[in-house]
């Protein structure tokens, strides 16, 4: 890729090279028994002095000892938990506990007296330092007992792509028992071989190993070979590139499908409540977005209660937030129906006007109560982070939202199809007078149906609070998309809403890489307009005489 590809490109890489060179020695010394803490202590204490550059040198020096005893100190440093005690300039690890810090000794791990924050100076880190530490930890932990640590170490070395590390890796591979980690180490070794001056056949083998890996890192490493002057490698590199690119194309498609489904699930969640209030009841419910917003704010309130009263149970806050949001939004919905909508039967267009007014009032109410700024809604642990399937990174929050959206959909479908209430709703919406004369209490059914739609919008708000702003404007950003989805799917058809949300999501995500985010959205809108020409009653239109009667 560039001419420097063979030289260590940055300071961290250089340091890593140094460390790896020292590794055998370090292993030797640790085998001989832990170095005396007294020897390490000055090195640790020196971390507290000087600029970022000085700290960086100290980290290198610590790493150079190769003693695993320094690992806790380095980890604390990278997490911002390392402090200097003002009184004696000693470096300690501090964990926040109430107003003060619980201190431990960085080398021995024994607990020290806890101290007020004012008596301590935090040792500052920046990204560059964090990288140095990570590389250092990688070198120190390649033979660690814990497989996960070794895996991380191998990843760090892979990214560093350094020729000097080959011997250390060879030794580590020899000793490695976990096949997954061993594979990673071999890949790290292959990456290093490419950057070394080893013979051509070794490099061709390395290219093979990397092609096997087939991800973007491998792609960029092999591209660098392809662009280099080593013409004897070009053939192998070319073949490997072709292979990886083919693989990448397949993964790109998979990625777009996943992104699309994920976007679709958000659209589905946003729209599904509207599919009831608008689709089934025919209320042009402009306050729908505000119901979503109420759900999100309920989540915020519930989380606040958890934070103050039961911080340990924070991960369960969403479980409490779901019914709470359903109730809050649902009750507000029932209130709106009883207070306003019920006077507007047979005047559906005027519900637009009234609900628009309601939406203004709700927005301002939330703004007046909670303030106009974003509120923090936390992700519980199970919704944080990501995992990988092959080269597809799937974030947990998106996955859970997809699962959640489908669950809500299924539950709603069952409720409408197989329960007494669902039957009543369908009866009332199809023929109000007939239903009333058969003893169905239509006002109650109306109120409950609107409440159900609103409540579902509320629980959608719980989910959306995990990925978007929780602000008074939250609802406004979903209302148009929601109407598009319901109308595109065919008003009054729940399956239509599902298919519409998913297909619009996927279409958007397939267009985005080519057209960009803005144009993709415009194209999807134009598509909806054209599609409605073809099917003037949406995707899943009812056919037959009854429709236009």
């Amino acid at each position: 890729m560039n001419v420097n590809a063979y030289a260590p490109r940055s300071l961290p890489a250089l340091l890593l090279a140094m460390l790896l060179a020292l590794l055998p020695l370090a292993l030797l010394s640790s085998a001989a028994g832990a170095q005396d803490n007294a020897a390490l202590r000055p090195l640790i204490d020196a971390l507290g002095q000087g600029s970022f550059g000085d700290t960086e040198k100290q980290v290198s020096a610590l790493a150079a000892t190769g003693d695993a005893a320094v690992v806790p100190a380095l980890e604390a440093l990278t997490n911002g938990d390392l402090y200097v005690r003002k009184a004696d300039k000693a470096v300690v690890i501090g964990k926040r506990a109430g107003g003060s810090l619980a201190l431990t000794d960085p080398l021995t791990g024994e607990a020290l007296e806890s101290t007020a924050t004012s008596a301590l100076d935090k040792i500052r880190v920046n990204n560059r330092l964090r990288r140095t530490i990570r590389a250092a930890l990688g070198g120190l932990t390649l033979r660690a007992a814990d497989a996960t640590t070794r895996r991380q170490a191998a990843e760090a070395i892979f990214k560093a792509q350094d020729a000097e590390g080959i011997e250390a890796l060879d030794a580590a591979i020899e000793a490695e028992t976990n096949p997954g980690v061993a594979k990673l180490m071999r890949e790290a070794r292959a990456a290093a071989v490419l950057a070394s001056d080893r013979p051509t056949e070794d490099k061709i083998a390395a290219i093979g190993t990397l092609a096997e890996r087939g991800d973007r890192d491998a792609l960029s490493m092999i591209t660098a070979v392809q662009n280099s002057e080593a013409s004897d490698l070009h053939e192998a590199a070319g073949a490997a590139l072709a292979r990886i690119e083919k693989l990448q194309a397949a993964w790109d498609t998979a990625r777009n499908v996943w992104f699309g489904l994920s976007l679709g699930s958000v659209l589905l969640l946003a729209a599904i409540g509207l599919a009831i209030t608008f689709g089934v009841m025919g209320v042009i419910n402009m306050a729908h977005g505000e119901m979503v917003m109420l759900g999100a704010y309920t989540t915020f309130m519930v989380q606040n209660l958890f934070r103050t009263h039961a911080p340990d149970l924070f991960d369960y806050s969403l479980l409490v937030a779901l019914p709470a949001a359903f109730l809050v939004a649902g009750l507000v919905g029932v209130g709106i129906e009883r207070g306003i909508i019920r006077f507007l039967h047979n005047r559906p267009l005027e519900t637009l006007l009234a609900t628009w007014g309601v939406s203004l009032i709700l927005q301002q109410a939330v703004r007046s109560i909670f303030g106009p700024t974003n509120q923090e809604v936390g992700n519980p642990a199970f919704m944080s982070g990501a995992f990988e399937i092959g080269q597809l990174t799937i974030t947990y929050n998106r996955l859970w939202i997809l699962v959640f959206a489908l669950t809500v959909f299924a539950a709603l479908l069952i409720a409408m199809k197989f329960t007494r209430f669902g039957l009543n709703v369908r009866a009332v919406t199809q023929n109000r007078r007939m239903a009333a004369s058969m003893g169905i209490r239509t006002p109650l059914v109306d109120a409950l149906t609107f409440g159900l739609g609103s409540g579902i919008a509320g629980i959608a708000g719980v989910a959306l609070s995990q990925i978007d702003n929780v602000s008074p404007n939250l609802g406004q950003s979903y209302i148009i998309d929601s109407f598009m989805v319901v109308v595109f799917g065919g008003v009054g058809n729940l399956w239509g809403t599902l298919v519409a949300a998913m297909s619009l999501g996927v279409a958007n995500k397939f267009l985005e890489p080519f057209a960009g985010a803005v144009l993709a959205k415009i194209l999807v809108l134009v598509f909806i307009i054209l599609f409605i020409q073809k099917r003037p009653r949406g995707l899943f239109a009812l056919k037959g005489r009854a429709v236009e009667a």
């Binding site: 590809a5 990625r255 404007n473």
Partner: protein, 432 residues
């Protein structure tokens, strides 16, 4: 109501109704100096601007405690332009013509400023604009107390390049004029520094963009090309939360691909769990975490005023703090609130900023400021990791853009020009 009834004429209900507004304004009999506050309290921008309205009310209240200005009390006139750009112009006109304010503190977005500019020019009043912006402007009636690109963007890039060894750049922004211009300047700057075309990726997204999956994945791909990569984000307000959430969840750590943002401050972070974002950066002229006595007082006063211990302070608030004090000082210097006199008096006025130094109003109506780079911390604050050694003078016209590198602004006599062309020696831009 006598005046009112005199003004009311039958058949002209329209004008009659209008006159009520005019009259209510004229009724405040007490001799005060009026200060207009033109920040959106509803609509999309309320999220950022409401705080600025509150900080202005606090500053005015404090000034009144100190005895007001020129022996008179200050009176705040608050209106809500509702994030509606033409309404900004209407409300500005109302503040000046109907309420008779002496100066207006307001606007956030570039478009709102552009919308009111002609009004301030026509009615010859004063606007203090407190937000970082794209530059390429210097108007006689406007004082730019936020950062110009050279007070924010360029130092940030320098930092990443020199301190973090970044070689590959993603310039991601919302598609409007501030990101466009900033990215243009940065692109020219980076190229001048020898960065190759293929090492710069520019991406624009619509306002309020909430689905960042594709872009985050693209950034990840761009960053895996083997060179140290950073994202320079000019993503606007609302879109930031979902962007950072996606970034955090996708496992992009600051050590791998740092993101430096110019529109993300303490307020924006307040809506986020910053745990996964530690180490990402922002460039501003002020952080709440700056440890100076004057900042401590300011934060304390703010929390007391707003009655909420969790509220944060941010850069545009400091800009209003500076701007308001400059105006007060200039009025005292001129002995009148007359706009022309204040415009003449304010250049060269220097007031303490909150970071421990002094900021001065320059002849181009921009101010001097220090530039700070901060890393996001676990607690939603920034920790300064780098700062300029001295103050940086706000540059109205960028040195890195073709159209404006020859332009300077100087509102002192005899130049008295916002776009003086040093190449042609004429006032009036780069044209003939």
């Amino acid at each position: 109501m006598t005046m009112f009834s005199k003004k009311f004429f039958a058949g002209m209900a329209l004008s009659g109704l209008m006159a009520t507004t005019a009259v209510t304004g004229a009724f405040a009999q007490e001799e005060t100096i009026k200060v207009g506050i033109l920040h959106s309290l509803s609509g999309t921008m309320a999220i950022s601007e409401t705080t600025l309205k509150d900080v202005m009310l606090m500053l005015i209240e404090e000034q009144n405690k100190k005895g007001g200005l020129l022996g008179k009390k200050l009176e705040a006139v608050v209106v809500d332009p509702a994030s509606d750009w033409p309404l900004f112009a209407e409300k500005a006109r109302e503040l000046i013509q109907v309420n008779g304010v002496s100066a207006v503190f307001g606007c956030w977005t570039s478009v709102s400023r552009k919308s009111v500019l002609p009004v301030f020019e026509e009615l010859n009043s004063l606007l203090f604009y407190p937000v970082q912006y794209e530059g390429e402007e210097s108007q006689r009636n406007v004082f730019y107390t936020g950062a110009a690109p050279n007070q924010q963007a360029i130092p940030a890039v320098d930092y990443l390049m020199n301190e973090e060894g970044v070689e590959r750049w993603v310039l991601a922004g919302t598609d409007y004029v501030y990101p466009r211009t900033t990215n243009k300047i940065l692109e020219a700057y980076l190229k001048a520094k020898g960065v190759a075309e293929e090492d710069i990726m520019i991406n624009y997204t619509p306002f309020g963009h909430s689905d960042w999956q594709t872009i985050v994945s693209d950034i990840k791909a761009f960053g895996s090309a083997g060179k140290k990569t950073a994202v320079v984000s000019t993503i606007n307000g609302d879109a930031n939360v979902p962007f950072y959430k996606e970034l955090g969840n996708a496992g992009i750590k600051a050590e791998d691909i740092p993101v430096v943002a110019f529109s993300v401050g303490e307020e924006e972070l307040a809506g986020l769990d910053t745990g996964p974002l530690v180490g990402h950066l922002a460039a501003w002229n002020y952080f709440q975490s700056v440890d100076t006595p004057v900042n401590g007082e300011f934060i304390e006063a703010w929390k007391a005023y707003i009655g909420d211990d969790k509220r944060v302070t941010n850069d545009p608030m400091e800009a209003h703090y500076i701007g308001f004090n400059m105006w007060v000082k200039a009025v005292e210097k001129a002995g009148t609130t007359d706009p022309d006199a204040v415009i003449d008096a304010i250049v060269g006025v220097s007031v303490p900023n909150l970071t421990g130094g002094y900021s001065a109003m320059m002849p181009n109506h921009h101010i001097t400021k220090p530039v700070l780079i901060g890393e996001i911390q676990e607690d939603g604050q920034f920790e300064t990791v780098w700062e300029t050694s001295g103050l940086v003078v706000g540059d109205a016209w960028s040195d890195y853009l073709d159209g404006s590198k020859d332009l300077i602004a100087d509102w002192r006599k005899p130049l008295n020009c916002g776009n003086f062309n040093t190449a042609t020696g004429k006032c009036g831009g780069s044209g003939s």
